[in-house]
């Protein structure tokens, strides 16, 4: 069964460094999402993406964040200058065009900012 994949599973970085989190959505899906979850806390929506542009974004998704679909398969989240409070689990999700009510999640990338 096709699934959403995310790499790396764990990323450790120094404060101020740039990181790129990668997601490969299911191949025929057209709607893409990023969420994050700080350890032990609730899930937070970051951004949704459709037709090569951002559809919605939350207040968290400020100028230090950007998303891109650089080719037909990857969907990336870039954090330009990481802060300690960016340490979290980042989840990617995608939805097919025929069932936008359903989201398929990747396993997540744990980002640790030191």
């Amino acid at each position: 069964e096709p699934e959403v994949t995310q790499t790396p599973s764990h990323q450790v970085t120094q404060m101020g460094q740039e990181v790129i989190l990668r997601c490969v959505p299911i191949s025929n899906h057209l709607y893409f999402y990023w969420y994050r979850q700080i350890l032990g806390q609730k899930v937070e929506f970051l951004v949704s993406f459709y037709n090569n542009e951002i559809s919605e974004k939350s207040e968290i998704f400020d100028d230090q964040f950007s998303v891109e679909r650089p080719d037909g398969s990857n969907f990336t989240l870039k954090i330009r200058s990481t802060k300690l409070e960016d340490s979290a689990m980042y989840f990617c999700a995608s939805s097919p065009p025929t069932d936008t009510d359903t989201q398929y999640f990747g396993p997540g990338t744990r980002l640790t900012v030191l």
Binding site: V43, S58, F105
Partner: protein, 113 residues
């Protein structure tokens, strides 16, 4: 502003019991979407359901059922005949017409054998 409340922080039940997880939301919009997600101990997120505000019909999927009541702004989730594998944190979420997406704090369900 929109808000999602899950008043039950933790629930423990014994296997085969039915359990209902409460979700109460606040929004000024008349068009919105409600979601439930499951996060098992392994940490991944699993989408369970999305319901739009114009569809108040209750949904049943196997042992899972959802009761949407606009009059009380609630979207409760019931697991019938619970199993140990149902042990997880369950999040309710709301997306309003302005595309603001808010999660509740989650309810940790423990199903004991």
């Amino acid at each position: 502003a929109q808000k999602v409340t899950q008043a039950q922080t933790e629930i423990s039940v014994v296997e085969k019991e039915d359990v209902t997880l409460d979700c109460v939301y606040e929004t000024r919009d008349t068009t919105y979407y409600l979601f439930w997600y499951k996060q098992p101990p392994s940490g991944e997120l699993v989408f369970l359901i999305r319901r739009n505000s114009f569809d108040e019909q209750n949904e049943i999927s196997g042992r899972y059922s959802w009761n949407f009541q606009k009059s009380t702004s609630s979207f409760n989730f019931t697991i019938t005949a619970s199993q140990v594998v149902d042990s997880a944190v369950y999040f309710c979420a709301l997306m309003d017409y302005g595309q603001n997406f808010v999660f509740g704090p989650g309810t940790r369900l423990s199903v004991l054998p």
